[in-house]
Amino acid sequence: MTLADLEADVRAGLPGLDTAVAFGELTVQVPADRILDVLRRLRDELDFDYLVDLSGVHWPGGDHMIDPQLSTTGWPEHRVLGGRGVIEVTYHLLSTERNVRVRLVVAVPDTAPEVPSATGVYPTANYHEREVYDFFGVLFPGHPRLERIFMPDDWVGHPQRKDYPLGGVDTQYQGGQAVPPPDERVWSREVAR
């Protein structure tokens, strides 16, 4: 089925939602309170049997300048403009019957982000939601066990938010010091070879 047909189906079955087609894909903006209903109807009425992916994107508010990170990359960073201040929780669904995909985007404010858990509709959402919680701090009420999944359990902060630094160590050479060629370096222990 074509993308236009899919969009028509979606608009008919799920009234009142913003849809957009770009780069050959259909994206539907869904408010957080309707997401479970939308997922259920997509699964049952429109044959979207797979929740392929559930991820997050952080669009910080204000004219946000990302940490320069000069020590790790030495490059100027890019500035994110426009005060949105949202975390977009993105759902990618796939229908194997009709061979189509659709993307649902739930934008929640990044200060207290909460989206109802989709594990009741698609059990595979379990790990994905834990990942979004771990990296963005989004809470999913209804999730059976919402814990960090990648970072250690006592980690502070949510790493993939834009205000979280990349981390790492300073690898810049200081004051133009040169590294001596290998035959002039001082080894801590000679290996006779």
Binding site: P152, P159, L166, G167, G168, V169, R189, V191, A192
Partner: protein, 169 residues
């Protein structure tokens, strides 16, 4: 061998040292600590084409208690670091650590929050093998250099003493 701390240093035991070192280096059993891509190259080094068995290292012991050499093959994440240290502590003396690949040696291309910038932050490393991942020949080169290093050890080095305890001279 706790005996080593009590033996005198010097030429008296040279032949014994050489014999013991020859024995240690010739059958250095690695502990399986393959983490990421380097682990696959380590497996390839142990497989038929680049055979590690000819250096006495074919038995990759899963249990650290039975292993001599810990080849840290791959990137060590923050969550894995305590596990790595625990496995190192569980190994019996004498033990050596070979840091395989740039991620284990220095954090590699991942200079970020998630990766330990070099496994020598938590365990003492005897040999660093660069590469991303190092070719099997490079790993073997590192292992053979480590064999040479082991053959030059002396009992009085204090190498086998616990790092927290003082060494008798």
């Amino acid at each position: 061998m706790g005996l080593e701390e009590r033996l005198p240093a010097g030429i008296l035991l040279t032949n014994l040292e050489r014999f013991v070192n020859w024995g240690r280096s010739s059958s250095l059993w690695p502990a399986t600590f393959g983490l990421a891509c380097c682990a696959i190259e380590m497996m390839a080094t142990g497989a038929g084409h680049y055979d590690l068995a000819r250096f006495g290292m074919e038995v990759f012991r899963a249990s650290p208690r039975q292993a001599d050499l810990m080849i840290v093959a791959g990137r060590v994440s923050q969550k894995m670091a305590p596990v790595l240290r625990r496995i190192y502590d569980q190994m019996a003396d004498p033990k050596w650590v070979l840091s395989m690949g740039v991620c284990a040696s220095s954090g590699g291309m991942f200079n970020n929050y998630a990766i330990l910038q070099g496994v020598d932050h938590i365990v003492p490393v005897d040999m660093y093998v660069p590469g991303c991942p190092p070719r099997p020949e490079m790993l073997m080169d590192g292992i053979i250099k480590l064999h040479d290093k082991i053959r030059q050890e002396h009992f009085a080095d204090g190498r086998t003493a616990h790092p927290d305890q003082p060494v008798d001279a």
